[in-house]
Amino acid sequence: MSKPNDLVQGTLDMLLLKILALEPMNGFAVSQRLKQISGDVLQVSDGSLYPSLHKLEQEGWITAEWKTSENGRRAKYYSLTRLGRRQLDKEAENWGRLSNAISRVVKLKEA
């Protein structure tokens, strides 16, 4: 399993942060929600998901808590921190700028 390259990794981080911004949830739920919202277009493999989550936790952008889930078992719930909120805003803004720029180039009329 190769490591995701920087662009993909950065985008993945942003997506995860955004999902967690909606509400706290565990890892499995995050990947399911992402798949659901994007209409199956964005699917993160399990092998990349957890390393990313752990990295985000180390950076202090998300924090984890062990809670009892709906079906009675203990699960680790991640939630966004204040620092994470700021990071998310920053990355969302960068993404916006980047995607606008790309759109502008792609939409150019060819001669």
Binding site: D46, Y50, Q58, W66, R73, R74, K76
Partner: protein, 904 residues
């Protein structure tokens, strides 16, 4: 933003660091939980549980790998990993104590030796001299290039003119040492006093610890009685003295009120005005009269006669401080001009004489620089060999652990992680080796200090300091990294698939490792050869030196020095004193004969001057004949065992009063009276104010005067009546151990004068041994290094051959099964070892031929490319290497073909 980020994450990471185990359990639970949920989801779509589980695991990418990747994300991994590596490395080392022991001992010896030598080099060559701005201090010598004399003591008249005429120096001070008797404070003792110009301490920038030093007002413009010998020193009228810290402590009990008190020197009361601190360390051995550290300083008075070049010879030493911003080369150039002017104005005394400036640092340590640098180079080579050995050892271990590493890769360890772990092992080895090495360094440095005799170097200052420790640590880390890097690089590229199957011993990786190790061994052998060649040359050189015929009988000869205070004894009294003393000594049981010489052989000091042959046309100034002059007591030649070649020695009448006779040595006769009979000829030797012609009455054999390596010079001997020096060395030929006579002699001396001390009690054997102590020291050390290199190279070649044998077990089994004799197998392995040894020796010979050239200054009587030496050490090394191969070769012989063939 950054700061807040840090404040948040640091405690988080610390928590991760310390709660690793629970964090791991949590990770486990989390992933398991994910799997459960995934499986539930898949089963809901109709997949069987087993298939669902399998699919989920595949998606995760394998449990362990996923966990490892998560762990990697934790930023504190480095510390955790390192600790883990350390723990693992310790366990691994404990499991193979043999390997660990060899590696650690190798490193410890290499690093310890390096550090010890570096300590010495640091103390002698690098440590700054303890004066203000020492780089601008230089000694100012006169030179006479015509006879290749590059340093000579200075004429006072020249010194005065130098001071007046130069612009490059901020100041110059003259100094001159002399023995003096210190009485009235315990046992009478002879100590060294340095007469110095009043600005001496100012030039050095040295402040006294107590009291004051000197100023120009201390020196009165007084005239002292004439009729002194040209090389005599007039005692200063100032009657003040500065003590050294050591003398103040030892003789005066560190008395804090010493200032103003008086001490008794040569019977006179002299006032103490100052005491120098413990850091003040002044000693220039070149042309020192006493060859001892001065313990007292007193002002040197420029006697009126010293302006007159006809009346006084050369005897001063001069230290100067160059003006700030003026380079020494510029000062040298200016002094050359001044010297040339003086030579033109006073051709009779100064023609051909120039000036040599020697920076103080070079003067103090220059003589030892070549030997020390060579030793440093040798030790560096030993460290290289040690590193090569370690690399080799680690490489073979790495090859043996390929299976283990392959499994770890399969379990998800990244290559970087594995390399890190292997590196940790080698660093751990390096650190343990380094700590042991520091211990070895301390022990070795102390041994060096003990082994070096007093006349070799003042080793009192040498200690292992932080510079050295840093160097040892640096060498350690470098050795560990160097040694660990190669095996790590080779192993990390190991192919996982080829390592996992059972066996797989003769894979390409194993062959590559063997090739690398062979390269190491060849390198080790060549380095060992270089060291062996160097040390053999030194050993031969030393042997030649010790076999030099000194020209007199050395053994059973006691020597000691007597300095009579000038105030107490005039010329007649001195002669009478020595007659009386010698009479008593000769009467002692155990004394075969006794005599005296003012400057005996191997005393480090001598007088030399010009002379003219009566009847010859006068020679142009600057080209006159030169000779050494020795003043002796009756029975000198017989006591010393110097053969009489022609004529006779002095008789009693000639000792009783001055009769203008002289005895010369063979070199004198051959050089100045070639083919003629010198007896009856007359010479005028320029030593005193008025010089009368002396008749040559005898020719004696040549004697090595200064050291074994220098050929004898022309010598003219005078009876004591001709020039009654106040300092005399008594020589006694004894029947038994020379030193056993000392108490009796001391008592005899006490009967004549109870205040007169004996100084420099020694034997001629000891004096000669002292004169070669530097050579002996260098030789012993280099031989130790060569021996060490030999041992290490043997370990290296043993290791490689043993490894090769295990690699070739299969092949050997086949050979034996096909009918080869056991002896053939033995020869096969030995041939392999011989090949390595031969290549190593060949490269080593080339290297040695190039490098021993650097040793030429240390060699005597043997050429740096002596063929017998090189042949000898080549043979020795090859034989020893073959011996080292013999053990694994024997093991190869014993291979059971059935067992060998069973391995794939």
């Amino acid at each position: 933003m950054r700061l807040e980020h840090w404040l948040y994450t640091v405690p988080l990471r610390l928590r991760t660091l310390f709660r690793r185990r629970s964090a791991d359990r949590e990770l486990d639970d989390e992933l398991r939980d994910h799997l459960e949920q995934k499986i539930t989801q898949l089963v809901a779509t109709g997949v069987s549980v087993r298939q669902a589980r399998r699919a989920a695991l595949i998606e995760l990418g394998g449990m362990e790998k996923a966990k490892e990747e998560c762990r990697e994300m934790r930023k504190v991994n480095f510390i955790q990993n390192s600790l883990q590596d350390l723990h693992y490395a310790l366990r691994v080392l404990r499991k193979s104590p043999g390997f660990a022991a060899v590696a650690i001992v190798t490193l410890a010896l290499g690093i310890g030796a390096n550090t010890a030598i570096f300590s010495v080099v640091n103390a002698v060559l690098l440590k700054p001299l303890n004066y203000k701005d020492p780089s601008s201090l230089t000694l100012v010598w006169e030179n006479l290039p015509r006879i290749s004399l590059w340093r000579n003591v200075v004429s006072p008249a020249n010194f005065i003119d130098w001071q007046d005429q130069n612009h490059a120096f901020a100041g110059m001070a003259a100094f001159l040492d002399q023995p003096v008797n210190l009485t009235g404070a315990g046992q009478p003792e002879q100590v060294d006093v340095e007469f110095v110009s009043p600005n001496f301490f100012a030039i050095l920038g040295a402040q006294p610890m107590l009291g004051r030093s000197f100023s120009p007002e201390d020196v009165e413009k007084g005239v002292v009685s004439g009729g002194q010998a040209k090389t005599g020193v007039n005692p200063s009228k100032a009657h003040i003295v500065v003590l050294s810290y050591g003398l103040w402590k030892s003789k005066f009990g560190a008395d804090p009120n010493i200032i103003g008190k008086s001490v008794e020197l040569n019977g006179e009361a002299i006032t103490v005005v100052g005491v120098m601190g413990p850091d003040f360390d002044w000693y220039v051995s070149e042309f020192s009269f006493t060859h001892e550290r001065p313990q007292l300083w007193t002002p040197l008075e420029m006697d009126a006669t010293w302006h007159d070049r006809t009346k006084v010879g050369r005897f001063l030493r001069v230290i100067g401080r160059v003006r700030p911003g003026v380079p020494v080369t510029q000062a040298q150039a200016q002094m050359n001009v001044i010297a040339a002017n003086l030579a033109a104005r006073y051709p009779k005394y100064d023609k051909g004489w120039g000036v040599t400036l020697v920076p103080l640092r070079d003067e103090v340590s220059g003589a030892f620089r070549p030997a020390l640098l060579i030793l440093l180079g040798a030790v560096g080579l030993v460290l290289l060999i040690a590193c090569a050995n370690i690399s080799s050892l680690l490489l073979s271990r790495a090859a043996g652990r390929r299976r283990e590493i392959a499994i770890r890769v399969a379990l998800g360890a990244s290559r970087r992680r594995i390399a890190q772990q292997l590196l940790t092992e080698s660093i751990l080895l390096g650190v343990i080796g380094g700590v042991l090495g520091a211990l070895v360094a301390v022990w070795a440095t102390e041994s060096l200090v003990h082994a070096a005799s007093a006349s070799l170097l003042d080793f009192a200052e040498v200690s292992v300091n932080w510079h050295i420790l840093a160097f040892a640590a640096g060498a350690t880390l470098l050795a560990g990294l160097l040694a660990g890097l190669l095996p790590s690089l080779m192993t990390a590229r190991a192919e996982v698939a080829s390592a996992l199957p059972e066996g797989g011993r003769t894979s390409s990786a194993g062959r590559k490792s063997l090739a690398a190790r062979s390269v190491f061994v060849v390198a080790e052998i060549s380095l060992a050869l270089v060291l062996l060649a160097g040390s053999s040359l030194l050993i031969q050189s030393f042997y030649q030196l010790m076999n030099v015929d000194t020209g007199f009988h050395v053994s059973h000869l006691l020597t000691f020095q007597i300095s009579l205070p000038e105030k107490k004894y005039n010329d007649q009294a001195r002669a009478a004193f020595f007659n009386q003393l010698l009479g008593k000594v000769r009467a002692l049981p155990g004394a075969i004969s006794a005599s005296g010489d003012v400057t005996p052989p191997f005393s480090g000091v001598g007088a030399a001057t010009d002379f003219a042959i009566v009847g010859e046309p006068p020679l142009p100034p600057g080209e006159s004949h030169g000779t050494d002059v020795r003043v002796v007591e009756p029975d000198y030649f017989r006591t010393m065992g110097i053969p009489l070649l022609r004529g006779r020695t002095f008789n009693e009448r000639e000792f009783a009063q001055q009769t203008n006779v002289v005895v010369i040595n063979r070199v004198f006769a051959d050089q100045y009276f070639p083919g003629k009979n010198p007896l009856g000829q007359k010479v005028i030797i320029d030593m005193k104010d008025t010089n009368l012609p002396d008749e040559i009455v005898g020719v004696v054999g040549d004697v090595h005067e200064s050291d074994l390596a220098t050929a004898p010079a022309p010598v003219a001997y005078w009876p004591y009546s001709e020039m009654a020096y106040s300092t005399m060395t008594v020589v006694v030929r004894t029947a038994t151990l020379p030193l056993s006579l000392v108490p009796a002699i001391r008592e005899a001396l006490g009967q004549i004068d109870s205040d007169q001390p004996m100084a420099k009690i020694s034997t001629m054997d000891q004096l000669i041994a002292n004169s070669v102590s530097r050579s002996r020291f260098t030789m012993l050390l280099l031989s130790c290094f060569a021996g060490l290199a030999l041992v290490l190279a043997c370990i290296g070649i043993y290791g490689v051959i043993a490894y090769s044998v295990t690699q070739r077990t299969h092949e050997i089994g086949i050979r034996l099964a096909l009918g080869a004799q056991r002896r053939d197998v033995l020869l096969l392995i030995l041939r392999q070892g011989a090949r390595l040894a031969a290549i190593g020796v060949a490269i080593g010979l080339a290297g040695a031929l190039a490098l021993t050239r650097l040793m030429t200054t240390l060699l005597y009587g043997v050429s740096p490319s002596d063929p017998w030496t090189f042949a000898g050490v080549s043979v020795l090394l090859t034989l020893v290497a073959l011996l080292a191969c013999y053990i694994p070769a024997r093991r190869a012989m014993k291979v059971d073909p059935m067992v060998a063939l069973r391995y794939e």
